[in-house]
């Protein structure tokens, strides 16, 4: 079994799977159960300033979308930060950390945008023995209306300012949690780095309305006939999160800045993908909220098996391994030619590839007698839609054409690497000649 031990910005945990700051980490009882189940770390649900705690709605606070057989694909919430007194949370944090010294315990924070508020809370946190803090600049609902959460995360100058205060008033490692509700995620990441952050974590949840009640004409979740946008998470957001992680990992300004990957991690494979794109560890919430804490056991065994297969002796061997392969469109090899190929033995003859290609793509699949489906190489642009709609994995594959062979679609032999910057149709490339 591979060694999954993780050292993220000096915070050690037996594995790289942390529970994200969220409902599962709001109370001692939950966090103890999580550690017993095997989670490597926990980011305690966001604490606010001392005083009367926030209140939550008393109607539904989650909405969802489902796939086949009601598999939960996306979850949305309008829950706020912890609604329990600060003292209770601090006492419980101290108690848990004392009993689980080998696990990572990070405290998520969200207080008003003034230096004293941050200074006060940080001193309280240090007394608990927690391993670090995560600045919640991400929550898109409720708290943002009060100038916190994503309201801060959407202004890079504020991120830098607050991060600087945190680093000034605390020696604890500091992770800045970013909101995806922004045009270019590199800007807030750069601001966090300028402010002295030890790491960034992303993504927080995405502004969303999951559905509309078509009898009451109200967005879900509905509170007394009204709804508000919530924060979207779960498997559905993973592709958005992966891209944002990669953007930060390959940005020269932030390259090397540790990243804690968040967004729809449900299996070991999801975690490995985040890590390959530069995340030093991952944080999980929706998978635990859907299946309970035990899911971490599959993540641990799966990642371990994968690392063994690959010969990786530590997670560091995996982290960032795919980053060099993330590039701009303009650098993609335009002379890389593939053609779809349908394995007739695996084909179950549903015809989905055919109708998708015929109706919406390039009319490159032929439907023959006996419902045999074959690719017309002279029409196939290798768009991959047939692969994506085929219900049988690996029935349709994209086969690379060897160099020198004539592409029957273009009549041109497959050539050496050449990208858009070198292409004759590119006005810029011609101007350069």
């Amino acid at each position: 079994m591979a060694n999954l031990a993780s050292n993220f910005i000096g915070i050690k945990s037996p594995n790289p799977f942390w529970l994200a700051s969220a409902p599962p980490t709001d109370k001692e009882v939950n966090v103890r159960r999580a550690f017993e189940a095997g989670w490597g770390g926990v980011v305690w649900k966001t604490l606010g300033s001392e005083g009367p705690p926030v209140v939550n709605v008393n109607g539904p606070r989650y909405g969802a979308i489902w796939g086949a057989d009601r598999r939960l694909l996306g979850l949305n919430n309008i829950e706020l930060i912890t609604d329990r007194p600060l003292e209770v949370n601090l006492r419980e944090i101290k108690s848990v950390k004392r009993d689980y010294p080998d696990r990572a315990l990070i405290i998520s924070l969200m207080v008003p945008c003034d230096e004293d508020s941050w200074k006060d809370i940080l001193s309280r946190i240090e007394d608990t023995g927690a391993d670090g803090v995560e600045l919640n600049f991400g929550c898109p609902h409720g708290m943002a209306e009060r100038g916190m959460g994503s309201a801060v995360g959407q202004v890079p100058e504020y991120i830098e300012m607050v991060t600087r205060w945190v680093k000034k008033h605390s020696r604890m490692p500091c992770i800045v949690k970013l909101t995806p509700n922004i045009t270019d995620v590199r800007k807030p990441a750069e601001a966090a780095k300028r402010g002295g952050a030890d790491a960034v974590s992303l993504i927080n949840t995405i502004n969303s309305i999951t559905s509309v009640d078509l009898d009451d004409f109200a967005p879900e979740p509905t509170i007394d006939g009204k709804g508000t946008h919530g924060g979207y998470c779960g498997p559905a957001v993973k592709p958005i999160a992966l891209n944002m992680v990669a953007e930060i990992a390959r940005n020269p300004v932030t390259a090397g800045l540790p990243i804690s990957g968040i967004g729809g991690v449900t299996t070991w494979r999801d975690a490995a993908e985040f890590m390959a794109l530069g995340a030093g560890n991952v944080q999980v919430c929706t998978a635990a909220m859907t299946y309970g804490f035990k899911v971490v056991q599959e993540m641990i065994s799966g990642l371990s098996d994968y690392m063994d297969r690959k010969g990786f002796t530590s997670t560091a061997d995996l982290v960032g391994r795919a980053v060099p392969n993330v590039t701009d469109w303009q650098f993609l090899n335009l002379n890389y030619v593939t053609k779809a190929h349908i394995d007739q033995d695996a084909c179950i003859k549903c015809g989905r590839c055919y109708i998708a290609c015929e109706d919406t793509s390039h009319q490159a699949i032929e439907m023959g007698p006996g419902r045999t489906f074959t690719v017309k190489d002279e029409e196939c642009v290798a768009c991959n839609l047939c692969v994506n709609v085929c219900p049988v994995e690996n029935c349709i594959t994209m086969v690379e054409m060897p160099k020198g062979k004539v592409d029957p679609r273009t009549g041109v032999p497959v050539g050496d690497y050449a990208n858009w910057t070198m292409h004759p149709n590119n006005p810029s490339s011609q101007a350069a000649e």
């Binding site: 086949a68 057989d69 179950i348 003859k349 549903c350 015809g351 989905r352 109708i355 219900p391």
Partner: protein, 442 residues
Amino acid sequence: MSNSQLTPGIVPARLPAATYADNFADHEPPFDVHEARVAADRCYFCHDAPCMTACPTSIDIPLFIRQIATGTPDAAAKTILSQNILGGMCARVCPTETLCEEACVRETAEGKPVEIGRLQRYATDVLMAKGVHPFTRAAATGKRVAVVGAGPSGLACAHRLAMKGHDVTVLERRPKPGGLNEYGIATYKATDDFAQREVEWLLKIGGITVKNGVTLGKDVVLADLMADYDAVFLGIGLAGVNALRAAGEDLPGVQNAVDFIADLRQAEDRAAVPVGRDVVVIGGGMTAVDAAVQSKLLGAENVTIVYRRGRDKMSASGYEQEHATQTGVRIIYGAAPVRVTGTGKAEAVEFAYTEDTPEGLKLKSETFTLKADQVFKAIGQTLAGVPDGITIAAGKLPRNPAPKLWCGGDCALGGEDLTVTAVAEGRDAAEEIHVALMGTAG
């Protein structure tokens, strides 16, 4: 009464009274909402779907399943019923395992097809439970059509004609409409008087008058119908039964399986239906299976189906055969009856083993004998009561033997003798009649 499974002879009440309700309960319970959604999720919405091609009525199966999946079973039912007005009964009795579900790509992929039949039942049940009839009649055309036979083909024809604005009179020789749906289907496949409820629902379209107890050739003749109506449709089924052509066939205790099935369907009290201790069913179709299984359910001790050819030739599907054997019926393949023996009543049947040769089926010299106080003949039905002037081809009526005259269902050429095929033929005949009467398909 103190009869048991061991009581000799053909007697009623072999089982404790409470057993009958269980034995003749719904063979395959209906889906609830959740089960339907889960089953519907498995459909791949295939292009030019093989299931649809396999359906004799060409129901748009991927569309109706998608409508179930998206929470609109009423729309799903309308999709089904617009192609097959007896979609409710077909959902119960179709051999889906040799039609749509055999063609399902998930049968290919996983050996487990989408449960199309049960989904169809779910959708049609939901709609019918509301008492809704989703079709309305076109403006009256003033044309009048006679339909002979209120079985699946006649009812499908009548409904389509009524929908097109024609007035339809349906003449049925039996006391109740429904044909084989009412008299020929195993009791556990259409419980709770479904056949009659479906007919009542179908007639809500309006414009259809059903006259029961009217026999063609006795109470009315075809020539008069042809003269009185603008068109005539014959859906008279197969009223004759093939003979065994074996000695002892006339002994008491030897009976047509179709009559047994009909009597059981019509019985107020299943326990009152007499059944033998040792039952032998001769034949290899669904009638044989239905008679055998129900004999077992009535408490017969030993029930054996004997079929003259091999398993693969048997017209009852593999699923039906399995159902029979699971119920406790024994199936003997490759044997044909030589004689029924007994003193004053059937006591045993002697069989000879058979051999399938290029020259046809031959009896071998080796024989065996089965005890039998009740023998059911289920070796096929034949056309009977054909009106004068129609030339029969291959034992069946042509589909359009004369101007103004159409035929469909089991009595007519084309397709298998299935409820769903009969519906398709009745519906298509109605479309042709409409064109003939109006000069346009509109």
